[in-house]
């Protein structure tokens, strides 16, 4: 019962985080939500009994991709081309 509740909440959380990452007005917030999304997916992989994928997702999917995207946004913000928030 408890695990079912956990699954339900996690699934919901995944969709909410994804929608936030996809449609948030602020690009920085979108990327942060994407990293949150990656960490939540790692939990989902553990529930799917895939600890290897969970490890890779947390390190690469959330961590490295997140770092790359944050770095790119920082680059956009520092450069004097005020095109996009």
């Amino acid at each position: 019962m408890l695990t079912m509740l956990f699954d339900a909440l996690l699934g919901l959380g995944l969709v909410v985080a994804a929608l936030g990452a996809l449609w948030s007005r602020d690009l920085f917030r979108a990327v942060v939500l994407f990293i949150v999304f990656g960490l939540l997916v790692a939990l989902a992989w553990i529930r799917l009994q895939a600890p290897d994928v969970a490890l890779a997702e947390a390190a690469i999917g959330a961590g490295l991709t997140g770092a790359l995207l944050l770095d790119a946004i920082g680059h956009l913000r520092r450069t004097p081309h005020p095109e996009e928030s």
Partner: protein, 231 residues
């Protein structure tokens, strides 16, 4: 975002959801289970952990091509930042721009450095019989490198020097050599004799870990920085 575009987006989403959802919900049970073949193959694979066995035995060719994909991404990264000889006097300035130099982060990195290195080694070793392996270990190494770089070190592991170049190529080149050598003995590509398979796989995973770490870090570190407008 104009209204028409938003409606079109919703329509595309709904269409995709209906299509995929109907496929997922009507799926019948598959006629056979590959897991049975897999369980029979594991004892001959030289590793105990099934995922590692799939990645470096049953579908090792996929992994070989995948490392090539990673290498191509790094090559393009290098090509597009490529410092011309004239620029080599100040390669650090490119990096320093993306640095967030804070004392907390610096001391954190110093603490994490041994810890993460140990984690990477552990993951690599564990991959033989439980979750872990070259990719996870390589990712931890790369994360370490990213921290190292972000905390303001100039001599990062991906300073464009000869050693990082060697480490970058070693994984793919070593894997390719190990894959091809079997042909000389009249065996198929990647068909390592089962008595040596365990050793060979550990060796490949070790070089791959370093190469994957360096490649992932290279993708991070060689992104062109602001002010670098040579196009």
């Amino acid at each position: 975002m104009n209204r028409a575009r938003a409606y079109a987006s919703v329509a595309l989403s709904v269409g995709m959801a209906v299509m995929l959802g109907s496929a997922v919900l009507t799926r019948e049970f598959p006629p056979f289970d590959l897991a049975v073949d897999l369980a029979e193959g594991i004892p001959r694979s030289g590793v105990a952990h099934p995922i590692t066995a799939v990645l470096l035995q049953f579908r090792s060719y996929d992994t070989l091509l995948e490392i090539a994909v990673l290498l191509v991404a790094v090559v393009v990264a290098l090509a597009l930042r490529d410092p011309t000889p004239a620029d080599e006097s100040s390669p650090e300035s490119v990096i320093l721009d993306s640095v967030i130099n804070t004392p907390v982060l610096t001391s954190l990195t110093m603490t994490l450095l041994p810890l993460m290195t140990m984690t990477a080694v552990y993951l690599l070793w564990a991959g033989a019989f439980q979750p872990g392996g070259a990719f996870q270990a390589g990712a931890v190494l790369a994360a370490l490198g990213v921290l190292w770089r972000v905390s303001g070190r100039r001599t990062g592991p991906f300073a464009a020097n000869r050693w990082s170049h060697v480490a970058l190529l070693a994984g793919f080149a070593g894997f390719l050599a190990a894959a091809t050598t079997t042909l000389l003995f009249g065996r198929p590509l990647l068909a390592w004799p089962s008595s040596y398979a365990g050793v060979i796989i550990v060796a490949i995973e070790t070089v791959l870990t370093v190469s994957i770490g360096i490649s992932l870090l290279g993708l991070f570190a060689s992104a062109p920085a602001p002010g670098d407008e040579r196009v």
